[in-house]
């Protein structure tokens, strides 16, 4: 707190503690209600017993004993398939993030360097997809990726030249990743744009003046300064892509299934809520761990030249 604010607090004789509570309390309360509490409920649900007809069995058995078990956690390790599915989802989410970054970075740079009128128009185009429903956009991709459309036909034509068998794009991991990239691209472009737009052009001039060519200027100045934007965009793409179920459901087929689909299955079809909660918890922990690792890597270091 600044000295001025501190003196104000003292003069008006509000105890500092109460101001501190207000400043830190509201965000904390928000996080508790929307993040910590649901997580705690999930932890509790993961320890309970599944009901006979779905849902959860009563917390207290008829004999009055607490009805908790760690059996659902055992189920996680009973077979290799969940580990494999997590790994596969992680891989899809990572590929999606990297492809989004590779596509969004030049786009964001181009928007920043465009003139005022072009910049507004390009930003509008980036946001435009949000004006229509998510499912409609995915269904549109089902047509685009379908066997009768240009993409599949073109691919098969090229494969034909090399003597390979015709194939389909739809209902494959490729289709999942294409649509995941499409759906998440704006979430990468916008934070990158917000970051790049704030860069001081004098720094690029200075780097050039000090002997850096275009490649060196990007590598040593633009890229490291944009890391907060890269990190924010990557988190916004990676976390939802990791747990998504709608896209693999619609375009993935049996090969393209992700961990999100299994979680959805546990709640809606198999009706095993405790095990669904276990999987959700693991998903949250892995996503948080990945985010924390990336944040650590992106921090500037005090290193000798």
């Amino acid at each position: 707190m600044t000295a001025a604010a501190a003196s104000l607090v003292q003069r008006r004789s509000i105890p500092l503690v109460r101001v501190g509570l207000l400043v830190r309390g509201l965000p904390a309360l928000y996080l508790w209600i929307f993040f910590a509490l649901p997580c705690l409920l999930m932890v509790l649900a993961s320890l309970r017993v599944a009901g006979e007809f779905g849902g959860l069995a009563p917390l207290f058995s008829e004999s009055g004993r607490l009805n908790l078990t760690v059996a659902s956690y055992g189920e996680l390790f009973s077979t290799f398939i969940y580990f494999e599915l997590f790994l596969k989802s992680l891989l899809y989410a990572l590929i999606t993030t990297v492809v989004c970054l590779a596509l969004a970075y030049p786009l964001a740079l181009a928007i920043v360097r465009a003139g005022k009128t072009w910049r507004d128009l390009l930003l509008l185009l980036v946001i435009l997809p949000f004006w229509s429903n998510f499912l409609i956009r995915v269904y549109a991709w089902m047509i685009i990726l379908g066997p009768d459309w240009v993409m599949t036909r073109g691919l098969n034509a090229v494969r034909g030249w090399f003597g390979a068998e015709p194939t389909t794009l739809m209902f494959s991991p490729i289709a999942v990743i294409i649509v995941l990239v499409y759906v998440h691209l704006p979430f990468m472009v916008l934070p990158l744009y917000a970051n790049l737009e704030k860069h001081d052009p004098a720094l690029i001039d200075a780097a050039q003046d000090l002997g850096a060519n275009a490649r060196q200027r990007f590598r040593h100045i633009t890229w490291p300064l944009s890391l907060p934007g890269v990190f924010a965009g990557s988190a916004l793409v990676f976390i939802p892509a990791f747990g998504i179920f709608a896209v693999p459901d619609l375009v993935g087929g049996t090969n393209g299934i992700m961990i999100g689909n299994v979680i959805k299955q546990q709640f809606l079809e198999t009706r095993n809520w405790p095990f669904g909660s276990v999987l959700s918890l693991v998903l949250t922990v892995v996503a948080l761990a990945c985010t924390a690792l990336a944040a650590r890597a992106a921090r500037p270091r005090r290193e000798a030249p």
């Binding site: 050039q208 000090l210 300064l225």
Partner: protein, 389 residues
């Protein structure tokens, strides 16, 4: 041949001419200053030397003389046309410092060496040396946001110096600092420049800074060089009204040369009357012009009915040719007290205003002239400088 030759350089932005046919040459080891009001073209010229901008080529001229009319910047015998900034042996110190915020002080200073693929061992030694030059050795591991304004400025200078460039360009490097610190850094800059022997081109709009630092100054206005000379010559012998007025305070008194007699002549001031001035170039009888008279050369003393002697002295001014001093009568209308000196504004009987500077050097408490006091205004016949129209 001079180290840097700027030949007939012009730069237009739309209908505005930022730099208008400028030619100048700068010698190796010189501390050269481009001085002028904002928008005079000094920064445009600097950016063209650094390579961020290029002179217009003389496309307007047709045919054969096209090549000769084209503006060129030649450094050390090499034509810099088409050479990008990163390949010019010139370093800029930016007004905003432009330190890289994600790098420590040491990494900032090492940056140009790294770009030139210097070996790691050599980098460490050179960075140490450059930081020692600007007395920042102890702050090597700080980030720019952990430094004061003066320290940041020093880092920017160390970063520009570390590769020992042929020339250093400084774009108003002290503008953002407070007066006391600025003075200190000015002295450091002079010493540093002497020590490293690198040619400095310094851009500023602050005339006192320019006078204090430079070997030579080019005063610029509206894209042209008005006058180029040593600081003391510029100050004492301004070539025109703009230079006289821009460089310090100056009284400019219009008139006509009425008569000449040996090394003195009678100069008829418009609406005021004749005064005696020393003969300078171009002072033919009948020539119109102005007398540039610095306020510190004008002395004033209280004159009232009780100072009868002062009344007589005025008559010597009218007696053309002979007098050593010119005397006029006036009234104090304003004064600006600034501690060491006081600037008085005197209104003459003709309504013309004159500024006079008086050092507050008398022992004990200084008695100030008050607004409304009648004063005797005097200056030596050779105190001013004639500017011919």
């Amino acid at each position: 041949m001079a180290l840097l030759e700027i030949q007939n350089v012009t730069r237009r932005f739309g209908t505005m001419t930022a730099v208008d046919g400028v030619s100048l040459s700068i010698e190796a080891g010189e501390f050269f200053t481009l001085l002028g009001p904002s928008g005079c073209g000094k920064t445009s010229l600097l950016r063209m030397i650094a390579g961020f901008d290029a002179p217009d080529n003389g496309g307007a001229n047709s045919g054969t003389n096209r090549d000769t009319s084209r503006g060129r910047i030649v450094l050390d015998g090499q034509d810099l046309t088409g050479v990008p900034p990163e390949r010019r042996p010139v370093r800029t110190v930016f007004q905003s410092y432009a330190l890289f915020p994600h790098m420590t002080v040491a990494a900032n200073v090492a940056f140009p060496l790294k770009m030139a693929h210097t070996s790691a061992d050599a980098i460490a030694g050179k960075v140490k040396e450059a930081l020692a030059d600007v007395q920042l050795t102890s702050l090597a591991m700080r980030f720019p946001h952990e430094l004061s304004g003066g320290q940041r400025q020093r880092v920017a200078i160390a970063r520009a110096l570390v590769t020992h460039p042929t020339m250093m360009l400084l774009d108003e490097p002290l503008a953002a600092l407070d007066a006391k610190l600025r003075e200190q850094l000015q002295i450091e800059l002079i010493n540093l420049q002497k020590e490293v022997g690198i040619t400095f081109i310094y851009v500023t709009h602050d005339q006192s800074e320019a006078l204090a630092l430079s070997h030579r100054i080019a005063v610029m206005n509206q894209g042209r060089i008005e006058q180029l000379d040593e600081p003391s010559k510029l100050y004492s012998f301004p070539a025109n009204r703009f230079v006289a007025d821009f460089l310090g305070q100056c009284n400019i008194l219009d008139g006509t040369v009425a008569a000449r007699d040996g090394n003195r002549c009678t100069f008829e001031l418009t609406r005021i009357g004749p005064i005696t001035v020393a003969v300078e170039d171009g002072m033919a009888v009948g020539a119109r012009g102005a007398l540039a008279l610095r306020p510190e050369k004008v002395s004033i003393s209280a004159a009232g009915p009780q100072y009868g002697a002062q009344d007589r002295s005025q008559s010597t001014a009218s007696g053309a040719g002979g007098a050593d001093e010119n005397h006029l009568r006036g009234r104090v209308t304003d004064f600006l007290y600034s501690g060491d000196v006081t600037l008085y504004v005197i209104e003459l009987a003709s309504g013309q205003r004159l500024e006079a500077l008086r050092a507050n050097s008398a022992p004990g408490r200084t008695r100030f002239l008050e607004v409304g006091d009648t004063v005797d205004v005097a200056w030596r016949f050779d105190a001013g400088h004639f500017i011919r129209e």
